[in-house]
């Protein structure tokens, strides 16, 4: 990096500016971020470049530890712990903010750059009402609660929408809740006076009732709505000017929450965070992030913790909102599909560097850097097919034929070779301080065929994990039966149960919790052999080595401890342990959900290869339909404890029978995009 290039590039941008090209809102050049640790310093981000223009969505994509969040946080001056910017420059609207003091950063945070943090559960203060927390954001940034603050870009947009009637200032006054009933009444009279059609009046009124929100809709919007409904311009102007005179603080709080998509916002504002679901909390955080109308919103994995359908609704809403306000969004995600769907420009980061950037579709459809290619290849999407096992891959010539063949075989033996059958399973839990029981699982029946994968898909709270735990005999059902090879699992005595445990093994979701941190990897994998008294010390050691080979981990891993391994490696250890007793069935409860795309892909391939080699049957619990497509033969869709749909994977994906399944499919990010390698 030399000075001449800086000058060259700045003079170049100066030149383009005179050509009336838009000015970049955020310009990050050669950013370098270091963390000081006890053993020296560690460079988390190096030579990172990206640019965001007003009103644009830019996505930074990368796996965990790639430096994507660190890059974004350095823009806000919010680097955690010992992190500090050691090189490069960050310019906000042409002004260099790289070496701002914390006080200077405070003046731009909220006001000019907003943040929607990653974890909705821990980012709201549990002892304050939601409304108070929104109010804090309004007050701290000195926002006028009477008027909307619209960016220049959005003002130009408003101007063109209103045929030049837009004047700014008083035109931006909000509706107040005190005047709203009168406004509606007068609007009704005005609309009724221009049309005799009662139905048209009702339709217009319904539109007004929905659109006109106290503390959110402004005078000019009311005027334009009235004109659109046929009211003469003079009358519309009179009504809007008389009855839209600005909002109160409470109106504005409710208005902001409504904008973020929270229904019944005035009541909700008086509630506490614990009364909110994850999706609602994230909406509150969006309201807070946008409260001071920043020019740039940094959204750090804003929906990663949420269900896909909730994610889709929230992002749709956020996109609509930022478009109308002219807010640019710097969107951080690990999900390629999501990035492609939402952002115009995409920045791929790997090991602290930007490895590829460009228009999002172009990057994803014609990836050039090997890392991007790898990411695109591993990204599960609707377009992907079921993973073909290594054995079948080797059999390239007959691959297609054998797949068909296997499928036919499987169908032929489906009747006789059911390995797990679940019949009318019901599980009720006692709710605290409630009389009635909560039905977590409600009359669910399905079966798993030997040697195939059956996936249970559903959102959080659908009861899918409860079903898995009952199949594993870790929970007793309220009623209904689980049959393993025709025998009722819950009627087993001690010895039969121990035998059942040899045949049916789980792999759990949390790779950080499912291995005892005090046990070496050797002891962890050996444990099942010891419990079941299999072999002696020597044969057990040989078996552990064999199992590590099976999950493609070096044998030296044996002496290590879980805290030294990555999430994906721990999950492979968990699989090795589950495989130790040569089971027939493995129940994977969200086994790949916590992993990065590439690692997830690797584990899915491993599971699939093991299935082909050992004839394993999987019961695969997941919330991710794209993963289902890659691994499952049959799908069970669950919603609120009930079975919604049960069919083969192809049937579910090609011709879903219920609206809920269709919604789920629609919500898969980037589902409609065709990703591909050249």
């Amino acid at each position: 990096m030399s000075n001449t290039t800086i000058e060259a590039s700045s003079s170049k941008s100066g030149a383009t500016q005179s050509d009336s090209a838009p000015r970049p809102l955020l310009e990050v050049k050669d950013l370098q971020v270091q963390f000081t640790t006890s053993t020296g310093s560690f460079t988390a981000v190096r030579d990172s470049d990206f640019t965001v223009y007003p009103g644009q969505w830019v996505a930074i994509v990368g796996e965990s530890g790639s430096g994507k969040s660190t890059s974004a946080m350095s823009v806000l001056g919010l680097l955690p712990g010992t992190g500090h910017v050691t090189g490069g420059s960050i310019k906000l609207d042409g002004e260099d903010i790289t070496h701002y003091t914390s006080k200077q950063f405070e003046s731009i945070r909220g006001k000019r750059i907003g943040l929607v943090p990653q974890d909705p559960m821990s980012n709201l203060n549990p002892v304050w009402r939601i409304g108070t927390q929104v109010k804090e954001a309004i007050v701290a940034n000195g926002m006028d609660v009477k008027r909307e603050k619209r960016s220049e870009l959005a003002q130009r947009l408003a101007d063109s929408e209103t045929d030049g009637h837009y004047h700014g200032d008083d035109d931006e006054l909000f509706i107040g809740s005190a005047q709203l009933p009168q406004l509606i009444e007068n609007a009704r009279a005005a609309v009724a006076s221009v049309t005799d059609d009662a139905e048209a009046v009702e339709k217009a009124m319904a539109h007004f009732n929905e659109q006109w929100v106290a503390g959110s809709s402004t005078r000019w919007q009311v005027r334009e709505d009235l004109i659109a409904a046929g009211v003469p311009a003079d009358e519309a102007k009179r009504i809007a000017t008389t009855y839209v005179v600005g909002a109160t603080m409470d109106d504005r709080i409710a208005g902001l929450l409504t904008e973020a998509g929270l229904p019944d916002a005035a009541t909700r504002a008086r509630q506490y965070p614990y009364e909110f679901s994850g999706g609602m909390r994230q909406r509150a955080l969006i309201a807070i992030g946008l409260a001071a109308r920043p020019e740039l919103l940094i959204a750090d994995e804003p929906t990663s913790a949420l269900d896909v359908t909730v994610q889709k609704r929230i992002l749709d809403h956020l996109q609509f909102l930022t478009d109308s306000l002219g807010t640019a969004v710097l969107f951080i995600t690990h999900d390629l599909g999501l990035a492609a769907e939402r952002a115009q420009h995409i920045v791929v980061m790997y090991k602290g560097r930007v490895v590829e950037s460009g228009p999002s579709l172009e990057v994803l459809q014609h990836p050039q850097h090997p890392y991007t290619k790898r990411l695109v290849a591993a990204a599960p999407s609707l377009a992907s097919q079921r993973i073909i096992s290594a054995r079948q891959r080797g059999d390239a010539a007959a691959a297609d034929a054998s797949l068909d063949h296997a499928a036919k075989d499987a169908q032929q033996i489906a009747g006789s070779e059911t390995i797990i059958e679940v019949q009318h399973l019901v599980k009720e839990f006692k709710m605290p301080r409630r009389k009635e029981m909560f039905r977590a699982v409600d009359d669910v029946s399905f079966s798993v065929r030997r040697g195939t994968t059956c996936a249970i898909v559903g959102e959080s709270g659908s009861g899918k994990s409860t079903v898995a735990n009952m199949v594993l005999h870790l929970l007793d059902p309220t009623s209904g039966t689980v049959l393993y090879e025709g025998k009722d699992v819950h009627s087993f005595d001690r010895r039969q149960l121990l035998d059942f445990r040899r045949h049916v093994q789980p792999v759990f979701q949390n790779p950080y919790g499912s291995l005892d941190p005090m046990y070496s990897i050797y002891r962890s994998i050996e444990e099942p052999l010891k419990i079941h008294g299999i072999g002696n010390k020597k044969t057990r050691l040989a078996r552990v080595r064999e199992l590590l080979d099976m999950v493609s981990l070096p044998q030296s891993t044996m002496t290590r401890y879980p805290n030294e391994l990555s999430g994906g490696q721990r999950q492979r250890i968990a699989i090795a342990r589950a495989m130790a007793l040569n089971p027939d069935v493995i129940v994977c409860d969200e086994a790949v959900s916590a992993l990065d795309v590439l690692v997830q892909d690797q584990v899915l391939h491993l599971l699939n290869d093991l299935q082909a080699e050992q004839g394993l049957s999987y019961l695969f619990i997941t919330h991710d339909l794209a993963v289902v497509r890659q691994i499952a033969d049959d799908v069970v869709v669950m919603r609120q404890g009930k079975l919604v749909e049960h069919a083969t994977t192809d049937e579910v994906f090609n011709s879903p029978k219920t609206q809920y399944t269709r919604d789920l499919l629609d919500a898969i990010p980037g589902g409609s995009l065709k990703l591909g390698l050249d």
Binding site: D49, E356, P359, H369, N510, S520, P554, N563, Q602
Partner: protein, 326 residues
Amino acid sequence: MTAQNHAIATPSAQGALPGQERYVAPIEETPLKEVDSVDESQPARSMWSEAWRTLRRNPLFIVSAVLIVLVLLVAIFPSLFTKGNPNYCDLENSLNPSSPSHPFGYDLQGCDVYTRTIYGTRASLSVGVLTTILVVIIGGLIGAVAGYFGGWVDAVLSRITDIFYAIPLLLGAIVVLQMFRTSTSIWKVVFVLALFGWVSVARITRSSVMEAKNLEFNTASEALGLSRGRNLFKHVIPNSLAPVIVVATTSLGTYIVSEATLSFLGIGLPTTVVSWGGDISAAQNLLRVAPTVLFWPSLALAITVLAFIMMGDAVRDALDPKSRSL
């Protein structure tokens, strides 16, 4: 290294805004690593070896460890540090000031203060160590059972714990020790301190076990066929030891103080046993006349207690769950 140097412009990128042209980094800059490979160059580290590494570098630990080793040596081999006999007293020497051969001087009875301080170490330390062992066994067991099995077992055990918690240590000890005035063994003090001391360890163990039992690996082991009872000893207890060790180390010091307090009150160790508490008690009237007689055993007591409390702090830092995660 600016974007311009390496940008590979593709034909369709020409419409892009400045700064957003298509850019592909040269591969040499970030060579692709194999997905999720294990770093075999690092030596394997368990939680304990990790904690040991942290401890070794903590000056607090080094200072306290040196002190504790020294105190232990004194307690086990007092004759290495003094040639004198703690019970040899000559009234002729009463309150004689220090001299090169008797650096701490003499007390009222004419006993050598240095020798008595050295010999007093054993009594104080034995009480501290034995009480801690007893407390960890009783408190650990009750806390672990209460936390692991929960339900009515927990309810009963927790109420019993609460009852003991409500009795002030000193008050309880005075009442109980009054009954054993005639006993000359140090065990009576150990038992009394343990009787009222196990409560804090039980509480810590209970909460620590309750946290450990809800971790997912317990479910995994249950699904492997491990019985509940064995799971407690194989997985839950090893995972809940860390806070118990911290509390035990810190309490060791406080037990020594309690012993001294009881001896000071005249109901602790019998007068035939040389102990710091007893000597401090005997010296209290001499505070104005000969403060050094009071000073030396008190200093020994303070240094020993401080060493154990510092050790507890260092161990807590090393075993802190926050520094343990990755």
